[in-house]
Symmetry: C2
Subunit: 291 residues, 2 copies
């Protein structure tokens, strides 16, 4: 469906577009922001060359506003010549009972899976939305000519880091790069993941494993060139919600190379942490998207 | 009075301190944030050298949160080795009738003047607070050893840009650098300034002129090396609240050199604009603070 442009904002030499559209995946309106770097935002059509796309998946409770305002990906993306796409974290206003009962399930907490259980399965289909509908809709939009959907990378924070890692592995070839900031690495074994997966996917834990980075990497073939940053002052890390050690161990046991996990001293879970390392994640993506 | 540390947050290699203290200028608690770059935040006392200080004065309605979260002065300040101090924009909780009646007067709108009129004059003394009490209190604090208050620059946005320009000219020698983003340049002749100055200073327009950058520059001696950025898509600029042309004209007529006003195409009044040019303003300050 066509996009409605709610705002066009000049920033870091490019333009941030605040968009909404009616999603056929979630059967709700969806909000999405797109940052076009200078070379995609300005100049005559003849001057324009398509830019690669970095998708940033946000964490629990976030909207596209959080990372667009506080993530600082735009500064580095502008320099590198990448577009950044900020999808929302769930459908909103699906009018499902209990949707707004907690901050870690339902609204703002779609976990980037397609729900298999009623009443969530009609709307909570974020995997299909992010991997299929949204890129297709953007490519066909009026500014789609600026975006090269043959060169797409994915990254994200917390729940969005889980989304980036799992969507990369569940859709081989769809993304050329992957990285994550304080990702939920083993949702089958942490309270956030257990609540979300039982709610969206049901009781069969074998189904859960298909959406768990630590489980998925056991079956991964080849290298897994991924940059992951985790703050050692992150309370969710300390509480065992993120479990990057489990991912690291599983990769090691499977003999998979390329996984780089950096433990950043004192950093917390906030956008003060994300913004600090945003440039590194843009550079990581650029290495694969611009080569 | 001593500071209470509400939070210490790792960001861009340094630390953001969220502080409060009891102000003897405003007779209220005041919130202030201090960013210490790596060389001031870490290392043994023997390794530490004092870093210069850049004061960022925020605009109408803002708290220290806005610029600390969305301004990205920290990224460039960390690289340059400057501390950043973010004072609040007014006293809060002074319990004056009408204090919260509008967003452009009273709470969040102190205009960096010492109010001369009752009931404001007991608390709304932001000029004394910013120029005298706050630097003295910080210098005497437990982290004051890291801050060099002999090398201080000042900058700000909108009402805070007005503050930066006027405090620099009203206190010759106190600051080594000055710059501003979308500043209110001629408050005597714009609705925001007329409301604030009549409320805080009274009806005598000669008193107002002492706090108006366009008036002050007429009496300035020597060069005025100032970087000013204004977005051409800024609605407040279009509405005549900022009036940078008046400042430019006054400087020109007075034969004052060094004023650089850049009109940035399409940029608005928001932190998407501020963050884009934050690095330029840090570099401008560093030129004077680190030489």
């Amino acid at each position: 469906m066509p996009f409605e442009t709610k705002a066009t904002i000049a920033t870091f030499g490019g333009k941030l577009l605040k968009l909404t559209h009616e999603s056929t995946s979630t059967n709700t309106p969806m909000s999405v922001y797109v940052y076009l770097p200078a070379k995609a935002a300005h100049g005559s059509p003849a001057d324009k060359s398509k830019v690669p796309v970095l998708i940033f998946l946000s964490g629990l409770t976030c909207t596209p506003d959080n990372c667009a305002e506080k993530g600082y990906f735009t500064a580095a993306a502008s320099r590198a010549g990448l577009a950044v796409v900020y999808p929302d974290t769930s459908p909103r206003g699906a009018n499902i009972e209990g949707e707004d009962a907690g901050w870690d399930f339902g609204t703002g907490a779609g976990f980037y899976v397609d729900a298999a259980r009623e009443p969530w399965s009609r709307n909570y289909r974020m995997e299909t939305y992010v991997t299929q509908e949204l890129p297709k809709a953007l490519a066909e939009s009026e500014f789609g000519g600026a975006l090269d959907f043959d060169r797409v990378g994915i990254t994200g924070h917390s729940m969005g880091g889980h989304g980036a890692l799992t969507l990369f592995m569940r859709h081989p070839g769809l993304y050329r790069s992957v990285s994550a900031l304080s990702p939920i690495c083993n949702p089958c074994n942490c309270p956030w993941g257990e609540k979300a997966f039982s709610g969206y996917l049901g009781d069969d834990r074998e189904e859960w494993k298909k959406h768990d980075a630590t489980e998925l990497i056991k079956g991964w073939k080849g290298d897994f060139h991924t940059l992951i940053d985790v703050g050692t002052g992150d309370n969710f890390y300390k509480q065992g919600q993120l479990l990057p050690e489990n991912l690291e161990k599983a990769a090691k046991e499977a003999g998979i190379k390329g996984l780089e996990i950096r433990y950043q001293p004192d950093y917390d879970h906030s956008y003060f942490f994300i913004s600090t390392f945003a440039e590194d994640h843009v550079k990581h993506a650029a290495k694969y998207l611009l080569s």
